[in-house]
Symmetry: C5
Amino acid sequence: MKKIRKISEKRARKAGQPPGVLKYLEEEPQEEIKISYIDYDKDSYQEEEITEISELKKLKESETVSWLNIIGLSDVEKIEKLCNLFNIHPLVQEDIIHVHQRPKMEEHKDSLYIVLKMLNYNESEEDIEVEQVSIVVGDNYVITFQERAGDVFDPIRKRLKNEKGRIRTMQADYLAYTLIDVIVDNYFIILEKIGDKIEIIEEELVNQPSDDTLQKIYKYKNEMIFLRKSVWPLREVINGLEKSDTKFINSSVKLYLRDVYDHTIQVIETVETIRDMLGGMLDIYLSSISNKMNEVMKVLTIIATIFIPLTFIAGIYGMNFEYIPELTWQNGYFVVLIVMAVIAAYMVYYFKKKRWL
Amino acid sequence: MKKIRKISEKRARKAGQPPGVLKYLEEEPQEEIKISYIDYDKDSYQEEEITEISELKKLKESETVSWLNIIGLSDVEKIEKLCNLFNIHPLVQEDIIHVHQRPKMEEHKDSLYIVLKMLNYNESEEDIEVEQVSIVVGDNYVITFQERAGDVFDPIRKRLKNEKGRIRTMQADYLAYTLIDVIVDNYFIILEKIGDKIEIIEEELVNQPSDDTLQKIYKYKNEMIFLRKSVWPLREVINGLEKSDTKFINSSVKLYLRDVYDHTIQVIETVETIRDMLGGMLDIYLSSISNKMNEVMKVLTIIATIFIPLTFIAGIYGMNFEYIPELTWQNGYFVVLIVMAVIAAYMVYYFKKKRWL
Amino acid sequence: MKKIRKISEKRARKAGQPPGVLKYLEEEPQEEIKISYIDYDKDSYQEEEITEISELKKLKESETVSWLNIIGLSDVEKIEKLCNLFNIHPLVQEDIIHVHQRPKMEEHKDSLYIVLKMLNYNESEEDIEVEQVSIVVGDNYVITFQERAGDVFDPIRKRLKNEKGRIRTMQADYLAYTLIDVIVDNYFIILEKIGDKIEIIEEELVNQPSDDTLQKIYKYKNEMIFLRKSVWPLREVINGLEKSDTKFINSSVKLYLRDVYDHTIQVIETVETIRDMLGGMLDIYLSSISNKMNEVMKVLTIIATIFIPLTFIAGIYGMNFEYIPELTWQNGYFVVLIVMAVIAAYMVYYFKKKRWL
Amino acid sequence: MKKIRKISEKRARKAGQPPGVLKYLEEEPQEEIKISYIDYDKDSYQEEEITEISELKKLKESETVSWLNIIGLSDVEKIEKLCNLFNIHPLVQEDIIHVHQRPKMEEHKDSLYIVLKMLNYNESEEDIEVEQVSIVVGDNYVITFQERAGDVFDPIRKRLKNEKGRIRTMQADYLAYTLIDVIVDNYFIILEKIGDKIEIIEEELVNQPSDDTLQKIYKYKNEMIFLRKSVWPLREVINGLEKSDTKFINSSVKLYLRDVYDHTIQVIETVETIRDMLGGMLDIYLSSISNKMNEVMKVLTIIATIFIPLTFIAGIYGMNFEYIPELTWQNGYFVVLIVMAVIAAYMVYYFKKKRWL
Amino acid sequence: MKKIRKISEKRARKAGQPPGVLKYLEEEPQEEIKISYIDYDKDSYQEEEITEISELKKLKESETVSWLNIIGLSDVEKIEKLCNLFNIHPLVQEDIIHVHQRPKMEEHKDSLYIVLKMLNYNESEEDIEVEQVSIVVGDNYVITFQERAGDVFDPIRKRLKNEKGRIRTMQADYLAYTLIDVIVDNYFIILEKIGDKIEIIEEELVNQPSDDTLQKIYKYKNEMIFLRKSVWPLREVINGLEKSDTKFINSSVKLYLRDVYDHTIQVIETVETIRDMLGGMLDIYLSSISNKMNEVMKVLTIIATIFIPLTFIAGIYGMNFEYIPELTWQNGYFVVLIVMAVIAAYMVYYFKKKRWL
């Protein structure tokens, strides 16, 4: 519920505000803003961290491809300055800062704006964390905005630095594709981890289902509801990129986007399949709990049922009638004991035959 | 059910009436009609409350943007007069008065007609109240009709009054957008409040689920069914506004409408997600109630099961046979007590081993 | 089930028959045919009941708008004669007579054919009755065919007679719209009545759910399944009328049809919502029944559980051992009684603490 | 399951075979092939059974309309010869022989190929039997292929023979329409019979639901799953015929096909409605079974609960304490009996008040 | 779950890698690569196994149709060399090697790329195994890539070798069709086997449902979820092939593809139907388990209920009151025994009458 509430809460706080006014809405300890860039073409490669927005002017004008990475969104002024430098529309600026957007893609005059969700599996809390990544693709630059340090882009940074391969020879659109691709691939890592957890639950379910198992099944069901919300719009976004005739994406890169699209479909299918399976596991849990209960009740009831007639017989001979012939028999007591044993044995036999035991 | 019935009831009362005939159908105490306007352009700002419809003529003819706000719909004659002044189609007049319309948007010759639902969360009754807001957008005026005083438009009034910003420089279509935006944003406030309530239910569910919890889950499930009905058509309305080529909305405002559209999607998704989660909570409730019951039954049955064989043994030695050797033993009584204790201990051990206890 | 079977039954009876051959298939007492007409224009108004089909010729040729109303479909010959007079296609004639058509709309050369379902709530049997209304719209006439006397058209007849308003100045297409409108509005009356019934069930559900409540919920669920079948195609019909470019409907009337369309959507939504709510009520019923049962079982089991150990103790001192020291104590009996009372008290306390009581 | 398996089984047997190779796959006793034809126009009528394929040449060349009816599909050679005479495509020949096709419609150069399912309700086994009917429509001939003798076409044969009406004056396409119409109408006969059975089950459900009732509900649910599979594609087929611009169907016949289409929709709706109702009946069954069980358990538990405290009291006075004052009272025994009676009476009263009895 | 996890796992391992870089990701013992070809036209036929990629050059240039079959995908270098020889796009090469693709079809400049799933039913593990088959269709060649030896293509190889029929006279597209056809037909074999298993489960369900039955039902439900994922995209693939205007498929072959499409639909329908039936079987299982439990509980409870009043009576006469008149009666004991027998008999009679026994 918490994740769901967050969205409404943030929006609610903004109700009645004019659009395009920037205000950071998260209450978490604000991360210091950190701006770094990588500038490259086939032959050159340059990596730097900057503090002054004005230093970026040269990047915008240069012919080489530049990748600007901004980490931390709380310093609204700096971000506004940066965005204005690159002519980013005020509504887009607002979407960058307000990090509960739905994944979407919008074309503007000077750039393409893409919002994605980067997932991270928090091992200690067994929880999926979401971070909004905004990607602005211009003619010869890509700007990425992240909420927190720590991302999935490191392999790309390495490839840019070391490799003489395709990525250095391609334009900004290819870089953007690579960033999207790595974010989508990262979903599989999350799904793999969830898959591990679910396999453990499956075993628990067979061996000894407990109330805890139920809680876990529900937890992952909710995680799947949540994942769906991130993943389904992703499909539209990437399909939109592939199908659109924007000038910011060359047709040669579209083939690669189609590949990402295929992966997105696989992510969606996997999420849906896991949902189906969790539904099935829930049914198994419920029926195994009820089976276990039934088993207990049955055995206990049977014990009671065997002793009730015996106790009745004992009650008969506990009556104080003056004349009960059996009581005076020499072996009356033992005869009764034997009769009781026979009755008990027969009942056990009968219940076994009926498969109730 | 009540909210659902209202719609049928109102319509039913109108069956067989000619269209376009105005008749106020609500039985609630009728609010006195109150007509006020705000007239502004970049430089001027004027706010007034009026009583005579004829005073509005000048507004219609002026170049400045005018926002007419009508509160209270029971004085049908005045409303008809006002509508006729602005050439509003009789069918639209009917829709304004009969407040159980589905959200919709219609283009007419002289104006654009938009029906929306404004929600209000009644804290004391823990209930969502709905109010129909009709927005008529003309060339240089916006007319809003509300059922009751008290609305979500105050921030806009303030922005109009104080701010020298964008809103004062834009046309009537931008004002209409702002009104729609604030209504949609208000949905998030409602959702946030419902989110709070549901979180409380979630805790109740874990700690001590009661019959009351069930009632609440159903209540919010019904609220969600109801919210869905208000929200889904909203999507079409706003999409319709964005996509239509009406002359009453400039393309510069459409970008803003797209922003509202994104929010609408988020509202819908949140409503759907809450529905899914409530479904899950219902399952948890049912299975936890049944678990609790099982636990009770099990413990009680086990107690009975332990004592039944012991009572049987006591019954044996309560028999009045003349010859029962054990009865004459010196320590017979204590031996039997010990045997009973051993049996009881073994059964407890066995049940514990079997995890039935 | 009965309503469903009727359709198959009627069709089955006709299997292998050539199309366009008229045969009345209903087994109910056949209503005498009754043909009446209202002929009007802005200035004149004439109302008459006729017996000879040939009298209708003049109507067809006159310039004024004529509304022919035929009640009772068993006199197949007369209907055929009438239909031929107005050039109605044999397949349409068949559809008029065979009253289990799906709502639909067909354009033919000389007229537009519309089939609708008129509902009637039979208060005594608490059942929805259906009657097929066929509407044939020609250049300057509207013909309506009904199965039985008694309809929802009276308000229209009155408006035609008294009012000097819009209806008398408009053409046949407007009359057709009014007829459709009043039929659709009538659905709200039905829904209102069902809403009343369901509110009663809701109260029953809270106060004292019985087997009867279940039966009623299922009954209304089936009614809703049935209503859906009548209402969904209605939507297509009216949308079809609004969108089609038939010459029998002027564009000025289409605006009114759009209004009817909005109402149809509201009917559909209400039906769907009632279905959802009935589903929820079913769940509440089942869980409240099971709760009630659980409560009974729990209390009873607890009583048994308290007395079982006590009976065991009594059994102990009922044993006939020669040497049971307690038996010879002066106050043994009272001590045992007190011990028993303490045990019972503790168990009650324990069960209360555990919230089992 | 059996019906479902048949399709896979047949296909499986054919895996890896080249297409268009004819091989009869059914294991049932093979019906002798029987070829008959009816040749007619407005004035003439001729009906004959033939044995030599070559006799058919003259039919193909004649101007009159010919209806060839082939019964029995095991004599593959003869069918191949016949098909080749009429230039039927090898793939179509294969579909004619392999009788587990989905209903479909294909246009080929020389003819139109339609596959339908003819249903038959086997009263003794209470089972729906399916037979594939292939209809080949050429310029002036219609060829129908059936698996077994016995069909629903007899009324058409009679109409062709006796009637001077429309059918004799129309072309081959009208004949094809009549054949399709009678097959679809036959579905209503099946649905009527199933409706009868379900009404019986409904009564059983109210009066005395048994395990058998459950089996029947599931049986008919499966029948409905099965029927759906036959009926849904039918819709596409007939819609396809109506919408296609094939030269084998004149526009005058399309109006009739639209009529059949309406019937198909009604069949589908009826099947879906029956499914929904069977689902509801299942719920009623389950809840009535559980209600009955609850009732039994409740009454029995109450009996036990009443006697347990009484037995406890008897146990008290069965104790052998030397000093139990009550035992020496003159009327002690009767007092105890009265006390017991009072307790029992109160408990019965209490249970009744609580509505547990 | 395992099958689902595999996909995520493989993708996860690749996250951040540049596209088009070949790396074999499966951990299973790697199959030695085996390259063989069949080269044929109407008159000639040649079959050979090769080791050097360069030998294939002549195939590419020859006019005859060549079918290259590659088994084993671990020798990435060889496959890359081969692919480059036939100008296969790097992204396609990647898809060939990474065997967890969704079935799809892509047109490239020099060839058509089709990915399908070949299923195999592992009898010993009662499990469906999946193998990815990649089919590359060029002008006069077809290349198939498989993971493991053993396939369903043997009948085609035989037909190519022996038959002088159609297959040898047709082009590469027809060969591709035949391969697809045999893969799809093979699905029916799988479905037939699953059908057999399910029929066994159905019998188990009627005769003696056990926990094992439940496990099996769930197992096959999961298999169906899994099969769906393979089969649904197949539909798009084949429809895509039929509808596309690729130069690699002649219109004469499209008719055959339509035939395969029909089969695909049947596979899908069968899978869906089996799912529905498994759902129904699950319901039957649950209700039969609960019925069985109820039966046990009922009988046992009844036994207890009969003896409880009897034991009470015995308790009465076990009381030690000094004055209990009945105790001194001559036949008191026997009278009590008879009374008890009468009570027991009446209760049995009553329970039988109430149908509780």
